[in-house]
Point group: C2
Chain length 591, copies 2
């Protein structure tokens, strides 16, 4: 095996050109094997193996600096830069993460995971280089849908005029985003492919960048040839390489969307090894929306390149027809477009991950909330239980979104409530509404749920009690129930249990009433405490004798964390909360 001998890019450079395609095949085998056991980005990485080999063959990393967009296509880069054990040896699979990471290697410059930032990062590196008079190559690898993100276009625009030195942007054109591509750019790319780069109105040249076309980006020699020609070039240039997503694994080539990111699967037929067959909110909401759209042609389901947020596979996208909009990776556009739909009589429902709402804070505030545009935003993966890569964690949306005026941010606690809130939101015409999808499993309501949520900030007392009140938000409501039971068991009285439902405001009247027979208020929330929900309750009671304990997560970037340990560290466990209560009750603070 050639791969055995490669511990750094210098080892690669010693290889003959003839051996490189064999090395590529070896790497593909490693990628497929690991993904089948461990999961990860599969077809994205299979397509870029050859070009990555070419890049390390031609350039001198780490002196020359390589920036990956999103960095989900960096596996081959990791394998070639001293981290192959993390791909070959099963007991080391978890040591190497799925995105670039400067802590792992001097060949990585950034921790990234969101789209469309690479050209801008590289422009900064080029600027710093030019100011100190150095001459290293700065190389960007972008593609697989990223180009439609506004920041990538801002980056191209800046590079095309204001970067005077070297900047090599390798655009991996695999004709795909996560799902199919959307946007006029992709028609332009198709023309460029059809004409081998000769078509009119070249998007890259329009931005002022130089341009080269590589017909077969899966042919190492072709890519090497062009890269050798452009190495040390003294202006920005885009190298448009055409590759096949999933290359070398027939199942992946045929199922590009399904294999973009995979869970452990069978090598024989590509099927997921341990599929979850229970109830899932993404599918529940998808099925609801399919029915809703059928009944009402004004309803539009919108996503920004992540149909997975609502399990809208191709079959369901087709069912929804013109009422389904995928804007591509363009969250800012999506939110403004939702505002436009809402203001012209439509009923837009947009869904994406908590972490991706960060890309459109301004549009939520300005286009939706100042304008009171009645759009519905579904916020998925908003939980300590969700994605755990540092770039994708979903525990920041409460401080980010709930402090924007006019937004009604709802936190359902069970299936019936989630559906009722969603239906109310779609039908009402007064407020922009966001709904935080629960992530702790699908629970059922114990009684009737309300169908009308227009009386804003009205909390629901689900269990009347005294002494202690538990305000348990969203998918931490079940923890609140368990805590209430433990309090009965431990102290012999019924505490009050409250489902606040609204993240964006406090129920002054109820909180005032609680002062009568309660001396402790506990808040529980599935997100960072700082700037979040519970601190508003603490502020409310600041001048009263009621004691408040806020439970939630500490403000920090977690990475590949163990949920239980993280919960424990934040005292988010019934026994630890009871300990805190014991301490408070035993101190002479409670009088």
């Amino acid at each position: 095996m050639y791969l055995e001998k490669i511990n750094c890019p210098i080892d690669l450079k010693k290889m003959s050109m003839d051996a490189l395609p064999i090395l590529a095949t070896e790497i593909r085998e490693v990628l497929i094997n690991k993904a089948s056991v461990f999961g990860g980005h599969l077809s994205s990485n299979l397509g870029i193996v050859d070009a990555t080999i070419a890049i390390h063959y031609v350039f001198d990393s780490p002196k020359d600096k390589i920036v990956f967009d999103v960095s989900h296509q960096c596996y081959t880069h990791k394998i070639l830069t001293g981290r192959k054990d993390g791909f070959i040896e099963p007991d080391k699979y978890s040591k190497i993460n799925g995105y670039t990471n400067p802590e792992e290697s001097i060949h990585d410059y950034f921790r990234v995971g969101h789209t469309a930032t690479s050209i801008s990062l590289a422009c900064g590196m080029a600027k710093a280089r030019d100011l100190r008079g150095d001459n290293e190559n700065i190389i960007v690898i972008i593609g697989d849908g990223s180009l439609s993100g506004g920041e990538a276009l801002e980056g191209l625009d800046y590079a095309g005029s204001d970067i005077k030195g070297n900047l090599i942007i390798i655009f991996n054109d695999n004709q795909m985003s996560i799902a199919e591509n959307h946007g006029g750019i992709y028609n332009n790319l198709q023309l460029l492919r059809e004409t081998e780069g000769q078509a009119e109105n070249n998007i890259f040249r329009a931005f002022g960048c130089d341009y080269r076309f590589v017909k077969d980006g899966n042919d190492v020699a072709s890519v090497i040839k062009v890269l050798q020609e452009v190495k040390d070039i003294e202006h920005p240039i885009v190298i448009h390489i055409c590759t096949t997503k999933g290359k070398g694994y027939s199942y992946a080539e045929k199922n590009k969307e399904q294999t973009h990111w995979v869970r452990p699967f069978s090598l024989q037929n590509g099927e997921e090894k341990n599929p979850f067959n229970g109830e899932r909110y993404d599918r529940i909401i998808r099925d609801y929306l399919i029915d809703k759209m059928k009944a009402d042609s004004a309803v539009v389901t919108m996503i920004a390149a992540v149909p997975d947020a609502l399990s809208f596979s191709e079959e369901y996208r087709k069912k929804a027809g013109e009422q389904f909009v995928d804007v591509g990776i363009a969250e800012e556009h999506a939110i403004s477009m939702a505002a436009g739909i809402a203001r012209n009589g439509g009923k837009p429902v947009f869904a994406t991950m908590s972490t991706f709402y960060q890309r459109t804070y301004d549009q939520i505030s300005q286009e939706l909330c100042i304008n009171m545009a009645p759009a519905t935003l579904i916020v998925v993966n908003a939980s300590v239980y969700a994605a755990n890569d540092v770039t994708h964690i979903g525990i920041f949306d409460i401080p980010m979104m709930s402090n924007i005026p006019n937004l009604v941010y709802l936190a359902p606690t069970n299936k019936q409530e989630y559906l009722a809130m969603l239906d109310w939101s779609i039908e009402q015409n007064e407020y922009p509404v966001a709904i935080r999808a629960p992530r702790n499993g699908v629970f059922y309501a114990k009684g009737e749920v309300d169908s009308d949520y227009s009386e804003l900030n009205k909390y629901k007392v689900t269990q009347e009690g005294s002494n202690i009140a538990i305000i348990a938000l969203g998918d931490f409501y079940q923890m609140g129930e368990n805590l209430a039971d433990e309090i009965v068991f431990k102290y012999g009285f019924n505490p009050t249990l409250i489902n606040p439902r609204y993240i964006t405001g406090i129920d002054d009247k109820l909180l005032e009433q609680l002062k009568n027979e309660h001396y402790i208020v506990i808040t529980l929330e599935d997100g960072v405490l700082e700037g979040g929900f519970g601190q508003k309750i603490a502020s409310f009671y600041g001048t009263s004798t009621v004691k408040v304990i806020n439970y939630g997560l500490k403000k920090e970037f977690l990475d590949r964390y163990n949920v239980e340990k993280t919960m424990e560290k934040n005292r988010l466990r019934i026994d630890l909360i009871i300990n805190d209560l014991d301490e408070l009750v035993n101190s002479n603070i409670i009088v």
Copy 2:
């Protein structure tokens, strides 16, 4: 006067073509007169008078729907749609605001003020129209720098492929942003102007949009001719019109940047009537940065199309040379580029308004904070005392930014402290740092200020006292001083006064110590309370006997507000705070 007879677009349509240029001249006179007395966007509006007349002459507003980007160029539109009194009659000048406003007129669809959202909003309106089977024209007016914003490019990209019906995008090419244009697009536009729309690599066509060129966009007849041809067109088209910014007022034509937005000025020579000649932070910081850049070639001052944020007029931009970067209206790119500069040995200092940081939340979180890139962000107009249009108010940045992990957000209270913090931030290599520029005037330090801020979250006790502690953040520190004096006068004891300096964390040790001799803690902050600074203090003391009162602004979108009344409403006045204290002291809560 023709203008007298125009109360709605129907009146305009009755006019002869020959009369329209005369009407344009009348409107220009009105615009110049009002701006000279009242201030506002001047040269931006002077350039678009003729095209706006043409639009209302050809289309049927409000059936046909016009969306202005930023909407700072909407004055003529307002004059033609029943709001001319607000421009002609001095006592009505303040009735009509500077941006589109659906509350003013059925001809306005959105309240907007931030850049680059119009195409996306219009795509939404077009989508809703198509779903209900209607056929109104949707018209966008964009230009004056907006095109470089990523969202505008996302919008073009979407329109160019996925909008199947009518969408008419009028691109006002006045060769300017607020300052000069930046970005490769503008070179492309120059080629298009030089070739009357025939140049290769047409940026609009590259995105998939149809295209028409109008050489003289200040000639009403030319614009009308083209608009009549494209009215009811059944696909997206860009009409590229070339206009002169400041057209019709020679001072404005010669001083396009200075007259983009003006304060009241002399009609004779264009000079500002009541220039502020006292000390100003923008100039203090600019002068500091000019010296700093001279001494250290790694320092880069960056802005995103608003050189005013640091008073970097052309003269100073030239002085800074390659160490000054204006990325155009592209905040996302700016922040990622800053991260790239910082990670390649440079020392970036980026400045913009509080409200524009909203456009780059994700890059602050991901590129800067996850990566711990040591860039410096200066946050200006972050205050109740700053801009008061609903789209530009600066009271939301504390909840938005201070809850992002790893960011060190500093709040200087005087000139020496501001400069010391800035210098420390530029020289340190560990943290992304933001600095909230004070807005209540330039105060001087009463003693030495610290030069090192690396001991994070260490508050400074500026006056030792007992019973009551006042934690007064940033530019509300002086209010804290006044409150302390009043407490001495009223209650006869010295309260403790604290300058917290760090917005992003709490000084646990100091807060713990305060428990000993203090029974009330007051927090003061110049921003919304919800999710802000004071609520973290309230949460800290939630289980103690210390009472906490948080003062700041209620979460709401303020618009064209009176600062004193707003402060009063939020009890941000010494006498009102003393009343609250009286009540608390007289109640039996304090034991």
